[in-house]
Symmetry: C2
Subunit: 340 residues, 2 copies
Amino acid sequence: VKVAELATPALVVDGPAFDRNLARMADARPGPALRPHVKAHKSTALAARQVAIGHRHFTCATPREALGMAAAGLGEDLLVANEVLDPARLTALAGAARAGARITVAVDSDATVDAAAAAGLTEVLVDVDIGLPRCGCAPDDAGRLADRARRAGLSVRGVMGYEGHLMMVLDRADQRARVAAAVDVLLAAHADVGGEVISSGGTGTYDLHDRVTEVQAGSYALMDTHYGQLGLPFEPALRTVATVLSARPRWAVCDAGLKTFGMDHGNPAMDDGFGALRFCSDEHATFVPGPQGVRPGDRVLLRPAHVDPTIAYHEQLWVADGPGLDAEVLDRWPVDLRGW
Amino acid sequence: VKVAELATPALVVDGPAFDRNLARMADARPGPALRPHVKAHKSTALAARQVAIGHRHFTCATPREALGMAAAGLGEDLLVANEVLDPARLTALAGAARAGARITVAVDSDATVDAAAAAGLTEVLVDVDIGLPRCGCAPDDAGRLADRARRAGLSVRGVMGYEGHLMMVLDRADQRARVAAAVDVLLAAHADVGGEVISSGGTGTYDLHDRVTEVQAGSYALMDTHYGQLGLPFEPALRTVATVLSARPRWAVCDAGLKTFGMDHGNPAMDDGFGALRFCSDEHATFVPGPQGVRPGDRVLLRPAHVDPTIAYHEQLWVADGPGLDAEVLDRWPVDLRGW
């Protein structure tokens, strides 16, 4: 089966480009120096490829991601890098840990420490605010939280902090300096907390971290047009194949729309040679075709602007042996970690 | 179970507001004068409520929506208001039709006519461009396409045209005039095509159509903040309940983000009293709480900006007996028509 023969809309991974992305990251951050983030792809089959290249510790955003990874035998060291307060989900995580997975949850408050302990979890990591206004405790509160966790019988593995506000700083020197300042904050908190783990970073800053023990990157494997602005050594490896449903002299319409693409980073892009995107509707993208024009039934390729919320709409990733419509489809990776 | 006790993030329908929305629409466009659009909610359980109030003919955007509606016994008259070229899906639709559903597909080109005929479908409707640059044939081509369809053995039920570009015209007199001009185009095409169906409209123009046989509205049932700008007599009936995961002096974070909300119309809104939204991340919304503040574990409510791509992320809608956190959960409607 060729990419052009898939039922559409469908997400297609350019297998060789994906392999090169994994190899480049594994060169830069081998083995446990990278803790790949599962939220970007939500696929245990894709995660298994990350294991095969040496990364056996994973970052998860939701309990369901962690439970699914554990159930798939990928639970050697799972960090839920998010605060969880739901007793039922925490209890399920504790059950997976008792069944043999290693599961660590992030905590940033008395409530999250107490909930983890009450559910029978055994390992936590203190999530520290290093500049992004999201989760994470005040840096000077990290030591106190670690003490509280240890008093509650929890093992405190260390700290994490995500400098998400610095991912898209386009000036590298500026980005480097600001990342270093954020890591200063994280290391000061770590001095108060202790533990062997200092976890930080993402795809946009993966090569600016020489003082942490691991980087949490996810997008690097498949990339998107947003991260594509940064000039990183990772190639666009994810496309959507769509069918032209309608063609008029001045525009055409394909069957990939607002339920195919996460839209927070703006419109997807028509892939090279397929024209220019105008706008998306629920089930359509209207575009201006390239000079060769298109006819109903033709296939086109698009590149998503944001990989994570795009994949979360889909049931599977199709893996092909190249980037184009005539590439051979080699494999199907279920997106089996959706939801919460 | 109260709304505040649901596992989060979760979509919650304010049942009484939903019922009032359905009643108001059924007053304005009773029975077959409305062909509710399934794409907005993708739920056969919700569609069954639309049947109960008198609308037994439905609009679908995807083959899976139509097949699911037919399988649920809601297939009295299903219009796939979209061009379909996939032979396997058209054949499945033809099979559902032979099994007793009435299934009509939109056509706007020789290719779509020929594909419908080749798959064994029996009924089509000519989709006419009435001003939105999306699907739909040139108006003066509609008669020729109808002739081609009839020569291919298809029954041509009439015409449809969607004035989606006019949904959000805020000046009602201007909107009325522009809708009338679009309907002029549709009626001229209908004169060439024939058939008993003239289908058009949406939630933003449902009351501006006295010359069509039916209106295709979907958002009216649950609404969103985007349509809320129009001052329509439909109430916000869909909210997301989320849990506060982290609370700092100047912001708090809840567990509803870019995989919870369709973002093409912008950020969701914090529901009244819950503060002001700042930004969304994959699994989080950062917001400034109201004066009473929030603590980790508190629940908050948000209102989506665009109902259709929001619901497409979720597995179910929870139906409650009111809009608030203390409302009683009465029912669960699976979102069983996702995908293509």
